[in-house]
């Protein structure tokens, strides 16, 4: 790896951008393409990237990396309809499956060739794996799991994320290096409206990669069986439990209500840490971000960790004995009562109101 230029001393921190970064321009979004499918977080990022690009008066570009005829052109067309002006398209047989090494080399080469000022990636397993390697190679700043992106008066990217284990927020800048990199978790940003028929320019870029030089091989891929997977992120109704439920058994009350409503169930981070529920049920900064029409938080105090994962809900109901719990800062309605006693009554009330006569059913 090439040695990086020396970092700035503290004294130069606030000075202008170094000369070599002055021609870095435009906002890029990594379009995550795997086995012909674009991860929806890429479109959410295009929506956010569009706003940043308009504010800066620059172009919004999508980066599509994949195998030959593996959906790259379709992904580019999608990217245009979600707001991209340009798509940098790299197709090569060795890029058919995601692997860190060839993807890092490709994205790094694209950045060094076309010089974007901002590069956004989804905080998925793919995006995090790639972003960390690319940022280190480029020796630039990378801010993980941003919940808000904005452009400052001096045109730098202000990336806000939770800090201190999710109790506070902080705004982070990459002042003296380019590109300014950030990742955003799925569902944190709203899905932009699709503009049918919107078109853009494709820039095909050829990379010089040979399979023989790559050490890591993908031997096989086993898709998840969808039946057992939670659909929390996309559910219209979500019911979640926290430590206020006092035991793993009482999470059943949450599952029962979610089942009656045809929704999904989840829990707060401490519940997962106590082993009450599997990690894929965790809602919050380090778990799933949800955007349901109705979110019911039962016995959840609502640390920022949790809060940033549920703020996108249309309507939030908190069931919590503690009237000063932070969840009440974001909930629209609250019932100050013991969730263990109240959940069964609420389940019955919903069942009657929504005229559901079918037998009990467990969600997920």
């Amino acid at each position: 790896m090439a040695e990086a230029p020396a970092a700035p001393s503290r004294a130069t921190m606030k000075k202008e951008l170094p000369e070599r970064f002055r021609d870095y321009k435009h906002v890029w979004v990594n379009i995550e393409l795997e086995r012909g499918q674009v991860h929806p977080v890429s479109f959410e990022l295009l929506g956010e990237g569009r706003k940043l690009a308009d504010k800066l008066g620059v172009e919004l570009a999508g980066v599509v990396i994949g195998g030959v005829n593996a959906g790259g052109r379709e992904a580019a067309a999608d990217a245009f309809e979600y707001g991209a002006d340009v798509v940098y398209l790299v197709e090569h047989p060795v890029l058919a499956d995601y692997r860190n090494e060839p993807y890092t080399r490709t994205l790094t080469e694209l950045v060094n060739t076309y010089k974007p000022e901002i590069l956004l990636l989804g905080a998925t397993n793919l995006g995090r794996d790639l972003a960390g390697a690319v940022a280190t190679t480029l020796q630039t700043g990378l801010t993980a799991d941003c919940t808000e992106l904005a452009v400052d008066a001096d045109k730098s990217l202000a990336a806000t994320r939770p800090t201190f284990g999710g109790s506070l927020l902080c705004t982070i800048y990459t002042l003296n290096f380019r590109p300014q990199m950030a990742t955003v978790r799925p569902r944190v940003m709203a899905m932009p409206a699709r503009q049918d028929g919107r078109a853009g320019r494709i820039v095909e870029h050829k990379v010089d990669l040979v399979e023989e030089s790559l050490v890591t091989k993908v031997l096989s891929f086993l898709p998840d069986r969808n039946s057992s997977k939670s659909n929390l992120a996309f559910a219209d109704v979500v019911v979640a439990g926290g430590l206020g439920l006092q035991s793993a058994e009482n999470l059943q009350l949450v599952r029962a209500l979610a089942g009656v409503l045809g929704g999904e169930w989840g829990c707060s981070r401490p519940c997962v840490q106590k082993g009450w529920a599997p990690a894929d049920r965790q809602i919050g900064q380090t778990g799933k971000t949800i955007r349901p029409k109705l979110y019911i938080a039962a016995g959840i105090s609502g640390a920022i960790q949790h809060r940033v994962g549920v703020e996108g809900a249309d309507l939030i109901l908190a069931i919590n004995t503690d009237k000063s719990a932070p969840i009440l800062d974001i909930a629209h309605f609250a019932v100050a009562t013991d969730a263990i006693r109240f959940l069964p009554a609420l389940t019955e009330a919903f069942r009657a109101r929504l005229s559901i006569h079918s037998r009990d059913r467990l969600a997920g």
Binding site: A7, A135, G165, L219, V260, S324, P326, F333
Partner: protein, 283 residues
């Protein structure tokens, strides 16, 4: 074989309290623990060592008190602990942290033999970035293998290693080569109960403590605040919404409260009732 496991001492988030008025974190008296995600990496390394022979070196960067986390790792059976501590590291972001750790790993390699595998947890529970592992891999030019759910065949002579990796929507089976950097997924290998022997050894063990110079770091400009391209400009508590949640009046019977609640919800958001009816009807 030689395994280096990078760990971080973090505040036990289950015991963190947020000040009710200032909404700031109350750090005083919060016990520290080894980042829980790192324990899966440590246990995986210990099992590989037990199966293939060799040594496990545990490395951490932090204040002098981070020694506790290394001693804890020794009670599980790690062979040695290395603490990287220097005021020059203060304010390091992930890029500066991965620089310092990678230099220390080089030094560890010089003294106790180059590592076959460098392990890290998936991410920490306090920073949650998942960036330091990949950063170390790039700097040491190790094959980067993140979100590993299972390590299969390991051939120490040929250096071949087979693993399973959690990808989006499924599991990748990978073939790769050592030396490599692996970040382990949670739930993969529960940490063992250490033996009495290890506990006794850990209590007496000398923790190797290095400052930047000891670790062979010459370029201090790459360390700490000065080596960090990211700058934290503002730390703040989120602004609460203008109004707090509207409390639903409690009735003597829970069911009556629930009915009143539904009335309120459906009045506040008229489209919700129809949406929920449709959803429930789909069951």
């Amino acid at each position: 074989m030689h395994f280096v496991v990078c760990i971080k001492q973090v505040p036990d988030s289950a015991q963190i309290r947020v000040h009710p008025v200032t909404n700031t974190i109350m750090r005083q008296g919060v016990p520290t623990i080894i980042n829980p995600y790192d324990l899966f990496a440590l246990e995986t390394a210990l099992r590989l060592r037990d199966a293939h022979r060799g040594e496990v070196t545990v490395l951490t960067m932090g204040p002098p008190s981070a020694e506790d986390s290394l001693r804890k790792a020794l009670t599980y059976g790690a062979n040695r602990g290395v603490l990287l501590t220097d005021r020059f590291f203060a304010g390091s972001d992930t890029l500066a942290t991965s620089f310092a750790l990678s230099q220390a790993i080089r030094k560890i390699g010089e003294i106790w033999g180059p590592p076959d595998i460098v392990f890290a947890g998936k991410q920490t529970i306090d920073g949650d970035t998942a960036q330091v592992g990949p950063g170390i891999a790039r700097r040491l030019e190790l094959h980067q293998l993140t979100y590993i759910s299972k390590i299969g065949h390991v051939d120490k002579d040929s250096g071949v290693i087979e693993l399973e990796r959690r990808a989006e929507g499924g599991t990748q089976s990978l073939g790769s080569r050592m030396p490599c950097l692996i970040t382990m997924l949670e739930g993969t290998a529960e940490i063992r109960r250490g033996s009495l022997n290890d506990a006794l050894r850990a209590a007496r063990a000398e923790i190797v403590t290095w400052n930047a110079k000891d670790a062979g770091i010459e370029d201090m400009l790459k360390c700490g605040l000065r080596g960090s391209p990211t700058v934290v400009k503002r730390v703040f508590a989120p602004t609460p919404r203008a109004e707090k949640a509207k409390q639903i009046e409690l009735q003597p019977k829970a069911r009556a409260t629930a009915e009143a609640l539904l009335d309120t919800l459906f009045v506040a958001k008229p489209s919700l009732e129809g949406d929920m009816r449709t959803l429930a009807a789909g069951l």
